[in-house]
Assembly symmetry: C2
Homo-oligomer: 473 residues x 2
């Protein structure tokens, strides 16, 4: 029976394929018994190219839905970040999810292959934005804006290889803060680093360090600062070192460097930066590290990257390798690439990677079994009796109209216990109960879910009493 | 000189092309003098297919950036909407910007041609989401969720024809609220209408009306409710009518309808809906109108649409035709289209169209010349003297660390007047001033921008004093 053997082999392939699906995905019209699989395969041997109607219900590769629990975590993260951006006087800005394809061309170097293009359906050629920086530069050039401090929170898309480490998604949030304009040296740069520190401290992610480097050190030192190549090679020593202002001072003392006026200027900028960081109280969080040489194509000067130190905050937590959680730097040439006359607008900025921070906080919540409220409901409108829907609807409309967050069960005649259980499960603090007794006496029973205490409140005082309780809690 | 005449004609075409560009766009490498244009055209006659390197810096057709002023308006709108959704106990949810192409197939009928597809760059075939409803249904089916009240605020994309009316964009925000699950009839439906009323009232857009209909009335009445086609034709009378509960009552009295059990049930549902709307205090905002027969393919029962009434709120305002600002309805079949066994999850929901509301509020602000603050900065750190950068940086870091929103000028030695002017322009309420005198006396001068009053505050009391003033204002 060679043919049956073949069938069996192929049936296994199908079944193994099912097992290999990502958890949580559902196979439409593919949930079949063994005999159904065999039957389908037999049919597909007869019509070998027609058995293709099955599809898996899933999100695209590298993307995901955020459940209500996850949404609460992300909202908290975004809130800390945006509050900090506003604390530093940034304005909001939004740009479209896609740009003309040519706007993104020649901005990302070898990463350009990761850009999502839209299909040519007639009209313009479009690409999904790859970051928020290039659209910002395009905005500045298009509107001839010479000076702006803005923040932007939005999704970006990159066709990352699927073999990347945990937390690498193809769709992810970026939170950017940038300062555009010609200013006295290193003041905006220092503020960007201060902001990074405030956000990482505010998110309570444990200890962190910001590494600073100079984009393409050699290029800077040799081409721009006019250092002889043989001297530039000698500076190689410093690539091994990392440290704070003391390392910069040490380089100052080095005659190989201090004899060159341009290099002295570069070191002067670095020294200035560390002076400002000291005044901001964050110098000990920042380390000068010439070995750091990553960053996107458009960076031109100082670049930095925040890494979490691997010691877990609590003994119970497992260390998690999350790589960098924020990055940024100076890009003085990018706006000029969009300007018809090449007019430059110097810029410096930073970008917070929300997804990695998210995965740390999510893991921590799982470890500690923290319960997250997914709604903000303050009051539940309940009844122990039948035929009280009308009363409940009138009551809840009154609460809504007073700005109170309220829910009820979408049932004509719900039982009391499930209503109270729902409140406990969802963390709703107050229940108002109406019934025949209450109606007769012109009162409402107000119950505290935590203490289970109940008091009768005059119907007309109910909203005021609830507002009083909520403002106290 | 026929050739010169030809050149002149083509030069005009080029120049006219420049004039036809949308305002605000910049032409890169195309700003030329007349003689340069002629020169280029002459060259292009020699190499006719090479003159194509010019490009316009702009956003894609049908999209736009939102400036800081516009962002403030949009944030205010979203805040009213999301607050209302939370007041009704909704959980948050997020889905990716794109879906597998096949997830969107056969969901939108003839509108499917407006879906943006992504280019096939290897891997899955993807499309940008067209609304937030289909991704929600996909989420419910994929996670086998049978009951959920969620809101979702996010961008959607539609390749609308560019000849559409003002306010039609190809990228726009939707704010959706939906209730999924099997519940007693018309309670969730009534809540959706109540929410629409709360939001439209809350946004102070002037008077509005919500029109209610039944998706494909004939189909419902004839195929589903078993009404004889000749009777269905007679109901045509009612398509001309619109009204509230009285119209429903009138139909109840009509023997052509009341003799049919199924139709009686349908009318019973409608009557119930209006009863609930009365209890919610919004019945007078809702009109039953069988002539309304629009809505997406997936709607199955009651559908509704909110329209602003055209009377302007203030005499100074010009009437603006904005069409509908919110829409929604019941879609009991959509989730089942994703479920392997076709299990249905009844759903009802609504969608608020932010862009149209935005254009109304923006126009109103322009009419009244309302000034919008684009930052939330509370305090500006200034100095009248040279060499006070260090002191200012120390001071502002202290404010930031105390959670106070603060800015300074990124200049080593700014003049005092521009610093004070900046505060007045930006609406920053407080200025702290440090100088030699203040340093000697251990104080800081605190200035109110509005009253121009200045008081000396002990350096160590500064943060507390600022916090006190801010909490009072």
């Amino acid at each position: 029976m060679p043919q049956l053997g073949l069938l069996r082999g192929r049936a296994w392939t199908v079944l193994l394929g099912q097992l290999r699906r990502p958890p949580g995905s559902v196979c439409i019209r593919a949930v079949r018994s063994h005999s159904q699989v065999a039957e389908a395969l037999f049919a597909s041997q007869l019509k070998p190219h027609q058995e293709k109607s099955n599809f898996i219900i899933k999100t695209p590769k590298g993307t995901r839905d955020l459940s209500p629990q996850q949404m609460v975590v992300r909202e908290k993260i975004l809130d800390v970040i945006v509050s900090c951006f506003k604390r530093h006087g940034a304005k909001g800005l939004d740009t479209p999810a896609f740009e003309l394809k040519e706007m993104l061309t020649e901005k990302y170097g070898e990463d350009s292959g990761l850009i999502y293009d839209l299909k040519d359906q007639g009209g313009e050629l479009l690409s999904l934005r790859y970051d928020l920086t290039v659209p910002f530069a395009r905005y500045l050039a298009m509107n001839k804006v010479k000076k702006m401090k803005r923040y932007h929170v939005g999704k970006v898309w990159r066709r990352e290889s699927p073999t990347k480490v945990q937390g690498r998604y193809r769709e992810f949030y970026q939170c950017d803060f940038d300062i555009a304009g010609q200013f006295d040296p290193m003041i905006p740069d220092a503020e960007c680093l201060k902001i990074m520190c405030e956000i990482l401290s505010g998110l309570q992610l444990g200890d962190f360090l910001i590494k600073i480097s100079w984009k393409d050190v050699r290029h800077e030192m040799v081409v721009k600062k006019g250092l002889a190549p043989e001297v530039a090679d000698q500076i190689g020593d410093y690539v091994q070192c990392h440290g704070g202002i003391s390392l910069v001072e040490q380089m100052f003392q080095d005659p190989r460097l201090s004899q060159n006026k341009q290099v002295l200027e570069g070191l002067g900028d670095l020294k200035l930066l560390f002076e400002y960081l000291t005044l901001f109280g964050v110098a000990e969080k920042v380390s000068f590290d010439l070995s750091l040489a990553r960053g996107l194509d458009y960076y031109t000067g100082v670049i930095y990257e925040a890494v979490l130190l691997q010691t877990p905050v609590h003994a119970k937590e497992e260390p998690l390798n999350v790589g960098s959680v924020a990055a940024g730097g100076r890009y003085d040439g990018l706006v000029g690439m969009f300007d018809p006359r090449g007019h430059k607008v110097p810029c410096v900025g930073l970008s917070i990677g929300v997804e990695r921070i998210f995965s740390i906080l999510e893991q921590r919540m799982k470890t500690f079994g923290e319960k997250i409220r997914t709604t903000e409901t303050q009051v539940f409108v309940a009844t122990p009796q039948k035929n009280f829907l009308q009363e409940r609807l009138k009551l809840i409309a009154e609460l809504w109209d007073a700005g109170i967050k309220a829910e009820l069960m979408y049932k004509n005649n719900p039982k009391l216990l499930p209503q109270l259980h729902y409140c406990e499960n969802m963390g709703i603090p107050l229940v108002v109960i109406t019934g025949e007794q209450e109606l007769k006496e012109g009162v409402i029973t107000l119950r505290s879910v935590a203490s289970r205490e109940e008091v009768a409140i005059k119907r007309e005082n109910l909203v005021a009493e609830i507002q009083k309780r909520l403002s106290e809690s």
